[in-house]
Amino acid sequence: MDFSAVRSRLAGADGRFYWRSLGELADTNEFREYLHREFPEQASEWNDPKGRRQFLKLMSASLALAGVGACTKQPPEAIVPYVRQPEDIVPGRPLFFASAIPLAGYAQPVLVESHMGRPTKIEGNPDHPASLGATDAITQAAVLGLYDPDRAQTTTFRTEVTAWNTFLSAMQSALAAQKATQGEGIRFLTEPITSPSLAELMASVLQDFPRARWHQYDPMSRSGVAATADTEPIYQFDKADVVLGLDADFLCCGPGALRYTRDFTNRRRVTDDNKSMNRLYAVESTPTLTGAKADHRLPLKASEIEPFARALAGAAGVTASGTAEAGRAWTADEQKWIAAVAKDLGAHRGRSVVVAGEYQPPAVHALARSLNEALGNVGTTVRYVPAVYTRPTDQTASIADLARAMDAGDVQLLVIMGVNPVFTAPSNLRFAEKLAKVGLAVYHGLYTDETANLCHWNIAATHPLETWGDPRAYDGTVTIMQPLVAPLYEGRSEHELICAFTQQPGRRTGDLVKEYWTRAFSGQSGWTIRTSDGQTFPSADAFWRRAVHDGFIPGTALTDGGQATPFKPGPPPSAPAAVTPVPVADPPADVAARPPQAVPPATQPQPPSAPSISGTSSGNLEIIFRPDPTVWDGRFANNGWLQELPKPLTKLTWDTAAWISRRLAAQHGLRNGDVVELRYRGSVAAMPVMIVPGQPESSVTVFFGYGRSMAGRVGNASEVSARFNAFLLRTSDAPWFGSGLEIVKTGERYLLASTQEHHAMEGRNTVRVATLAEYSEHPDIIHGMGHTPPRTMTLYPEHEFTSHKWGMTIDLTSCMGCSACVAACTAENNIPVVGKEQVSKGREMLWLRVDSYFSTGTAEELEHLANPQMFSQPVPCMQCELAPCEVVCPVAATAHSSEGLNDMVYNRCVGTRYCSNNCPYKVRRFNFMLYADWTTQSLEALRNPDVTVRSRGVMEKCTYCVQRINQARVDAKREDRAIRDGEIVTACQAVCPADAIVFGDLNDPQSRVAKLRAQQRNYGLLEDLNTRPRTTFLAALRNPNPELEAPAQRTTTGH
């Protein structure tokens, strides 16, 4: 159809309809062609599927926007405090609402900043035990996900737009047909559920249809944890002096990471008074940020972790059942390692903890548990509590069972909620093919993705910021979600969807949740509701208001006596798969050890058509699967912020890469960006490789989440990158690692856009490192690593900063490089997404970057390091007192404020870029083109109204969140008082789970920042240039075990 036809068809349509129907229209080929004609000069960028131009232009073109004007309407339900206290709305002043952003069922507790009804920024919920004010990068990007016009927008049946009520009646009739067989043919496939109210709905459905089956599948499920007996460990690192990680990335991944990071780093805040810190040993199958923080790091193949754990247990005098061979004898170093660690653990009984990796098999978890028990850690540093999941399930087995049923044609009605199995299910299940055999498939999700495409009914899901909910956090704390806006599109919540299969469909989410907890307040379903200080609430209403206000229900944490989510579907459904673990739960370690043929055939329910897992596995390499640190399992692939967020360690953006060791690269003659073919158990995928120091020699790590075909305009893979899909290789019997991988160099090259090319420090001490021993012996060792010119070395009189003197310290001992601060900065400061092509040219716009170094020496030295130390260093603007950038600006567009900020005056900047050339820290960013999107309405709703949106040809940089400083100044003035220390919290500081960033007034000797700056491990980056940075770093201290590292060994050399 041509555009005039579109226009005529839309004539007289009102806003919502207008945009709703065109939303799908935007996907038709005609429309794409029309867009091509519309922006011919963009042709080049169009071909780059990740091109920023395509992202923005298509966003503006996709008429998702017309409706957005109507999006800032508050929802009809009463949410606190808006309806009851409209006087709280002060134009220009944001309101904060406690809510949660669930990931795989687990709540990430947040406070959402809302400007006049527009959610614009997410902060952590400081009162919530799982957050303490921190958030991770993925949660930070949720606001962009909310305004993404690519979201599924309405209910469709076979791609025809229909009404929700039509769906409801259709489901009722479908259910009626199932009555006879008690729902024999009904299957639900959802992510694991933690929400009590949703669980209750689910239970009631299963009550009505006892033979219906509920399958749960989270492709990133912590199979090791969940599949063991329904207990999971909750660690308390604040009590641990010695930590052993068995392939555990507990600082970055997993629902408890934020709290764990805070507790862990609190134990290593060395001050001049307190010179003690914990010690972390990490045994790893692939470099992780946790390993990077480790005082001792041992790279092993994933399959060697279990034998290692057994060996360690043996050394620690713990009798662990069963044996597994490493397939090789431990080297002398490894034996020394084991002995030393065992000794150290033994020396810290009750103050140590052994952490099993989420992606390690149950056996390792069992070993870790028995170690912890033997070491008397249980109850102090770790507690084993009932699972937070409503009904813990071996999820791989569960979806395998579903696949078998679908293949047998037993499934008449399949309801898929929040999962994208066509993309994420184990490849050997051939889920897509079998989905065709399902009578009626209903899909509920945020996007019209690969699975939605094959389902009859598509129900647009609400974004977490659009709906009510009560998911539980990692420790079981019930967390209340409240909608910040009415659904932008025709979204339906999970509650509403499941409700459609109950006797009274069509109930509202808010009512369902509130009603559940009102009943719970009255003591039903086993909950005991108390205030945080143990008192009882006067009324259910008071309780509910409190809960919604605080964002969580105190006392529901499993660690302090909260109960597991009740789930009573009446007669337990005779579902063999869901409850009893099937043999597939065999430790994949064994699989790796013995030839693949030996895998019990029972674990591969597959049609003859499927390639046999025992197929061609000539390779001798080990493959390791990991979720992508930014796009996770691909569900965030359409989020520009996350795509452009440099991934930890490699700093790669917009793409994935297979991690290989330098030795392996040399064997196959591979360079970064060479595309290799990955042959594993009969399936084939391709991926560009990246050489990562510290990667075990014979292991290849691949990350999920890329190669999506229907992610959206931002996330869709190109023809080339469609093959970069790790799910193609994943089989149901070895979800996280397996042997038999073969890599073949294809000779193709693929452009990897990384924001950091050089990971060696060239002996420049950008990160100053010392061991705790050295530091406590000579506290001035840190200063000795650089030279600070005396302040007298100037002819000029100095400028005095009499009022305030803003400064920041960043503790490199705490920082572990998770990059949440970068995401927060992006969200707070309206930083544009520039796209892969621009990033590859070195034009990323991130004001705050996190540098990663693998070596303090030269690049050549790094070549020879198999297991280098890794360092992360966040680098914002240093706000130099003698700023080199200011002196060279011809128009005074950057000048010093009276409080010592290095101000950037955007509308005075002419764009000579001299300031950036003269900035030794290279923290300035330039709008080489018009990066900011000035046309897309939905992005206007997203923007922070307190921050200028920069235009083309303008230099920009970190301002210490000057808008927040000014806000605090206004408040202080109005209340006629001085600005309190800690009143101003920069965006990066706010999210930091490690509490590594501290901002404040250096003129106030009592301020936290002033005290930290007085520490002897405080240093300024490139201080010898006499720039006098206001942002300073606290040196990275390591606490190595003297038995493993002689104190003499210094990784850094004096200047």
Binding site: G842, R849, P884, P890, N918, G953
Partner: protein, 462 residues
């Protein structure tokens, strides 16, 4: 006053005026180049080619203004690249003209007479090309154009006079206008000649207007010579100051490879070097094309070759000193800078530069080569390439790997970088050839003073 008798000692250098010429023949020879309907085919072809590139320049700049400098290869850390390289390169070339007119005048080098006119023209056009880049390199010249000059405005905002870029604005604009004055003042008597010789009425009016009614009165000549000498005296420090200030753009920065005290003299030498090379590049073909061998004699070419050789050695000394300081300072960043220049990803540029600026010009030690126009021409061309590479090395190589290793990057020029650069060369050639077409490329009245009869018998020298 600028007419010195050719010394009659044992060694008689080649004369600065070959053949037997009278006032009349000189006048006719030079003015005939302009006051004619016919132009050599070479002129038409060259101008046409130049004009094609002017259009390419127009397209490149328009696209630049449309999209921003993102169309170039510049990035962070390499914020400056072709834009500033070209600026410095052109400015350097633009030094020869004023230098020849002013300094050689003060040094009473009569051999300057036949080359100063088009050398000055070259200066003007080179400065015009150079001045473009500071304007367009922001991608928003409409801002650069009016925010870089001080003028009272409603926001009472002023330029920031500590920035070398502002010094540039003043230096380049002063240099441009003073060179124009100098050039025009020199032209006036010749314009009078054209006024009196032109057959075409329009030409008569135009030249007449430009000649301001010059009639060669002795009283006028007296003030004229005074003013001309003063101009020369002031242009000499000016011309030195301009490239000194351009070098401040770098030496005021803190970047290793920029922050060096040797930059001003080293840049000035480089400018003279590049300038003379360009004069040779232009003089040799023009001389052949218009049969000016009598006026631009071997002596001119040889002298220019010698100046090129000497300044070339100064530049090489600069390179050597940069390396020496890097080592002697024992500063890790400085040392790395040189190592990176000589062995890093852009080492090819550095070594090409050493060949072009360091080795090749050494052939000029040989008289037979100094007096061989073909050789001279190509040596001069190579020097121009070398000087461009010098700026590439200084700007790009220093920027791409500076202090913090994490922000090291690479720079790759785009098609638009090249089109803009070659566009300015086209502009330069076109302007040059138009000048040859409409104005005397050799100062006629000064040439007359070289005729033996011009010496007044009995008049004591001065």
């Amino acid at each position: 006053m600028n007419s010195k008798p050719v010394s009659t000692e044992s060694y008689t250098p080649p004369r600065v005026l070959e053949g037997s010429h009278s006032y009349k023949t000189i006048t006719e020879k030079i003015s005939s180049i302009v006051l004619t309907k016919h132009q050599p085919v070479a002129w038409i072809v060259t101008t046409a080619i130049g004009f094609v590139f002017v259009n390419i320049l127009g397209v490149s700049v328009s696209y630049l203004l449309l999209k921003g400098i993102g169309i170039w290869g510049n990035n962070i850390p390499v914020g400056w690249a072709f834009d500033i390289i070209n600026f410095v390169w052109w400015i350097g070339i633009g030094h020869a003209g004023t230098l020849i007119s002013a300094i050689l005048l003060l040094l009473r080098q009569d051999w300057r007479t036949s080359i100063n006119r088009f050398a000055e023209a070259m200066t003007l056009f080179a400065v015009a090309c150079a001045a473009m880049f500071p304007l367009i390199h922001t991608g928003r010249p409409w801002l650069a154009a009016y925010w870089l000059f001080p003028y009272p405005n409603s926001m009472s905002l002023w330029p920031q006079f500590r920035s070398p870029l502002i010094w540039d604005v003043f230096a380049v604009s002063t240099y441009g206008s003073v060179s124009l004055l100098f050039w025009y003042v020199g032209l006036v008597p010749d314009l009078a000649t054209f006024r009196d010789r032109a057959k075409n009425r329009v030409a008569q009016y135009l030249y007449g207007a430009l000649a301001l009614g010059w009639r060669g009165s002795a009283r006028h000549w007296q003030r004229y010579e005074t003013a001309y000498l003063l101009l020369a005296g002031m242009s000499t420090p000016l011309v030195l100051s301009v490239h000194t200030i351009v070098s401040f753009d770098f030496s005021v920065g803190i970047l290793p490879g920029w922050h060096a005290t040797i930059f001003p003299p080293y840049f000035v030498a480089g400018a003279i070097y590049a300038g003379f090379a360009m004069v040779l590049t232009l003089a040799i073909p023009l001389r052949r094309l218009y049969g000016l061998q009598d006026f631009i004699t071997m002596r001119h070419l040889e002298n220019m070759a010698k100046v090129t050789l000497v300044t070339g050695l100064m530049v090489v000394y600069g390179y050597a000193m940069e390396a020496f300081f890097a080592w002697y300072s024992a500063n890790a960043f400085e040392t790395f800078m040189i190592v990176n220049r000589t062995t890093g990803p852009y080492a090819w540029a550095y070594w090409m530069l050493i060949v072009c600026n360091g080795l090749v010009p050494q052939v000029l030690w040989k008289k037979s080569i100094r007096t061989n126009t073909i050789w001279l021409f190509f040596v001069a061309l190579i020097v121009s390439v070398g000087m461009w590479l010098e700026r590439f090395v200084i700007i790009v190589t220093s920027l791409h790997r500076d202090f913090v290793p994490s922000s090291w990057g690479m720079y790759y020029p785009t098609i638009w970088d090249f089109s803009t650069f070659f566009g300015t060369i086209g502009l330069f050639v076109t302007l040059m050839f138009l000048f040859i077409r409409v104005l005397p490329m050799i100062s006629i009245f000064e040439m007359r003073t070289l005729v033996p009869e011009a010496k007044v018998k009995g008049a004591e020298g001065h």
